[in-house]
Subunit: 349 residues, 4 copies
Amino acid sequence: MLVVMHASATPADIQEVCDAISALGFQSLPMPGAQRTTVGLVGNDRRVDGSHIEALPGVSEVIYVSSPFKQVSREWRKDSTLVAIAPGVVFGGRDVPIIAGPCSVESEAQILAAARAVRDGGAVALRGGAFKPRSSPYSFQGLGKRGLELLQLAKRETGLAIVTEAMDDEGARLAAEYADCIQIGARNMQNYSLLKTVGRLRKPVLLKRGMAATVEELLLSAEYILAEGNDQVILCERGVRTWDPSSRNMLDLNSIPTVQKLSHLPIVADPSHGTGVRDKVTPMARAAVAAGADGILIEVHPDPNRALSDGAQSLFPEQFVELVRQLRQISRAIGRDISVLPGQLPRNA
Amino acid sequence: MLVVMHASATPADIQEVCDAISALGFQSLPMPGAQRTTVGLVGNDRRVDGSHIEALPGVSEVIYVSSPFKQVSREWRKDSTLVAIAPGVVFGGRDVPIIAGPCSVESEAQILAAARAVRDGGAVALRGGAFKPRSSPYSFQGLGKRGLELLQLAKRETGLAIVTEAMDDEGARLAAEYADCIQIGARNMQNYSLLKTVGRLRKPVLLKRGMAATVEELLLSAEYILAEGNDQVILCERGVRTWDPSSRNMLDLNSIPTVQKLSHLPIVADPSHGTGVRDKVTPMARAAVAAGADGILIEVHPDPNRALSDGAQSLFPEQFVELVRQLRQISRAIGRDISVLPGQLPRNA
Amino acid sequence: MLVVMHASATPADIQEVCDAISALGFQSLPMPGAQRTTVGLVGNDRRVDGSHIEALPGVSEVIYVSSPFKQVSREWRKDSTLVAIAPGVVFGGRDVPIIAGPCSVESEAQILAAARAVRDGGAVALRGGAFKPRSSPYSFQGLGKRGLELLQLAKRETGLAIVTEAMDDEGARLAAEYADCIQIGARNMQNYSLLKTVGRLRKPVLLKRGMAATVEELLLSAEYILAEGNDQVILCERGVRTWDPSSRNMLDLNSIPTVQKLSHLPIVADPSHGTGVRDKVTPMARAAVAAGADGILIEVHPDPNRALSDGAQSLFPEQFVELVRQLRQISRAIGRDISVLPGQLPRNA
Amino acid sequence: MLVVMHASATPADIQEVCDAISALGFQSLPMPGAQRTTVGLVGNDRRVDGSHIEALPGVSEVIYVSSPFKQVSREWRKDSTLVAIAPGVVFGGRDVPIIAGPCSVESEAQILAAARAVRDGGAVALRGGAFKPRSSPYSFQGLGKRGLELLQLAKRETGLAIVTEAMDDEGARLAAEYADCIQIGARNMQNYSLLKTVGRLRKPVLLKRGMAATVEELLLSAEYILAEGNDQVILCERGVRTWDPSSRNMLDLNSIPTVQKLSHLPIVADPSHGTGVRDKVTPMARAAVAAGADGILIEVHPDPNRALSDGAQSLFPEQFVELVRQLRQISRAIGRDISVLPGQLPRNA
């Protein structure tokens, strides 16, 4: 921690800051400059809450130098963490798994059609919501436990791994039972009770970035899960709030190299929510792989025009086939490849 | 719902949109313009999810005309809702209650000192966190149930109503038992499970706006609570995310007249979190009252320099006394007043 | 400048940073911490451009401690600067001048009616655009030089000082000739050529904050004007870009105490552009005065329903009279008052 | 234009809106709905300024259906516009030109070294600033006319086309004389006087998106140039303001497919300013090409550690060679290629 003093700070002000640092149990180091003095806090190995120091007389700014996160940091663990949610479906390595499927599980026919279509197109995992967080209480809220059973059925039929969202403790326990990876949605990124719950469940977690969360806040939320003993966390960039009405969200691909520098955890991108409209999903999925994403999460519906939710951003199965063909070539241009399941021969391989 | 077509849309495109509207069970009304055609959906009395129509050929944009919320709307209920959390502590009427207190309950001595100080300064309710949502899992997380007991003690000593945050179902049930009003924090504004829980508890709820939530999203979250049968909801503007590092958050006072136009629910402001630093709390609290806020939520600590959290944004008791004196005069300039408890004679009256 | 090293930085990395600092002509001071080393740059009295140091091996972050601005800073000049644009129209002192008038000068009848209305309501200066920056090249662009002549006529008739916008060098020279204060609009806040021009003209300047400018950037733009020898600069908060469609802009009143702490220059608020709709202008003008604004800039039109631009955010004359009455009481609640011209007896006094 | 009425609007309110539309010279069409009435304006072929209608009694919202831009729109011109700034350097076609070079022209040796390096790496145009917009008046402001002469020299030596920024009329005329394409920087995107000047100069213009400009505002600024008779405009995404301190700007690649849908003008990306730090330039340049950018603008310096500006975001020549090799493969994966000059054999071809 560094405490920057005002140019007009008096020696007494500086002494008071030094005393406050001592009171926290650390050593203080005043560094006089030509224009102003800075006081360093020496000897800490974790983030100190010195917010009250900000308000001492003569203090201009308090700067935190220590990283606020610990176990998620690449300084803590140098090698990238591999998160295997099922045999052959590994995030964080050379190959890039594709998770695809509809926004919501709507019926047995729909989820089976979707699962077959995305497996044939090259996906290795199936996404689909059984519990849906909806801004309005009057929108379709998902099939609940019945949805999870249908996902399990789709897994048996196709061999795809299952990723599905949980919104509360009860849902998390059910998702852990029926699925291979529990998704925590953007709206719950800072629902710390839920983060602790999935930390204790020891199932892989896909943690989506909140609507306006900084990368640091995303990593701190992941830290909650790791702090409970679960390091099987996949981060997900899904677009952030934007003031530009031309796009529902702004897919922040800068976050991909940023996360990969700061953390050992894998990060995937969701261009469907990150753009909100089908026309942009294909170019932005390509962009995400080119930027180095460790996986892609994408909405595909067997009949988007009849989808109960997110129809406008779901790809038609044929579009998905063509997209994965392009993603495969782009991934090879940067020395990677798109993951395939044992025995899977995608139509676009 | 209005569907705006491209200038180049064909008659077949327009027909397909009309058919899609019919399939939703509504009547369609094409309106040709000089430049392009718009198709209206007639006869709906609620928001229709027509997202798949956005992706039909020839469609440029889908515009929603119906308000997405219902019970929270001033169109639904014309008169302002009064939320009384305790005798004499009423939000939404002529008078403006002040809720004050420390960020966290830290000890019996601290919370009692704080309670006495804020009551003497003119507050009618005491705030204080027993369960603290912290970005980092390693920060102080609150005293839990012991904190609630101390709040109850402070209530007995001072007569102040109690407002305290809940982060999960268990916490909500405890808060309902020990406090007069359950606060839902910004990070949980879209934790729909928790919103439903507090909707069923039938206790007044103070719902904080999320970090980057629109006013519409805030109202939709409140709708979750009303939809469970609980209309005792106080909304709270607490500052939104900003790209300007000169301020921790940006207190969006525009939201106050906006909410008051759209909804019958009261809205209060939290200038402490809305600014993040003591120097700005006083001017922004004044601004909030001048803008028409139905209450003020403010951090006051008996000894801010030793606070376990949010020390930099907590007022000293003396500053609070002076602030309330100014707030009283400002409220009178706009035909309101600052609430007082029966028998309370604030030092600044 | 402080250079924060990675935990994994080697002694050679640290030495390279020290060498780079020496190459810039300054002394380096390595400060080893328990977790990582920070290297300070000692002896500078201005902002050093050390951006290339950020990219040296082992460097985690470069932190600037020196303030990037100089002459605008309160550290440079302790006392608030008074900017007098006309006799009795002084910004930065105890009293709060109100600048009011239509968005655009439309005709002689319109501007005279507006001028009389706002003077009777308590304004001491008249605003009105002769050159209008419009997002679309097909919108009304103002009357040009004829507009300036009409403003001068209105000044002769009413005694009000004149504030008008310039968009280029030619316009700035004309505005300097005809008006008392040259406004630089939000879109031109970083048009450095224009800032230098008005810096050399030695007329008071009202500099509006850009759509998404930080307070630091606003102050740096003002520094361009002061660096040319003109310290008669009034800053203006006029709302910033927002992702919330419920408001055209977000009036950032936090910037008022922030600017007043960092700079000796006065700051005024423009609630008309800061909200974009008439209903919110009144509460937000009150809020701005309560927050400590050194002046208010407000759109009033004699017949808003027929305005050529900004009709929706212009007050009716009667609304303005009532607003100034409230502002006067609020300003007195915080030890200030609303400015009046010699001999002016507003209807609401 | 569509005028959405409140549920509580009276027949008289609706009539007043119809009358206001008639007064504008258009036909009105009231459309009663179950919940509320919408009034359409029929027969317009351009954007009407109906802002005063927003404020009429009973009006809830005014929605603009007509596109606010005209000549830049793909509805106006279906085929993509090709902008050729020099023989073989064409934007908007199948091939993707790369513009590279240092932030500023610093010296003859520096610019010649840079030019040779980027030509050998595969660039077809050289960028370099002679006039630099700097936030602080005390930062290096460029070599001015001498810089332009050095760029011309570099062109003679290498055959590269020249792109350079102008900040005012004088600079624009000089840039038109010495360079092949005039860049308008982000800070001047809404400097309408300058846009009109470059519209009349009939030189290709590279127009950068403002810090927080919407895509619509970017297109409207381009409309200013086309309205003067110059359709040789290249748009540029260069990152927008972000609240996330982990990145200097947020490169908004969503804007690329958005612009390509709305407009016939080419759009390029600048990952150097879009990220602000070297580590992210390579992944984000790849992402931009994968998203479909019609060109890439990239900072390369022969010795970034000694650059006078933007050192941290400039690539080393070797990094540039490797980057263009990857970009070539990615462009081929989507059916495009990287442009080459006649006779140019890049090291990475």
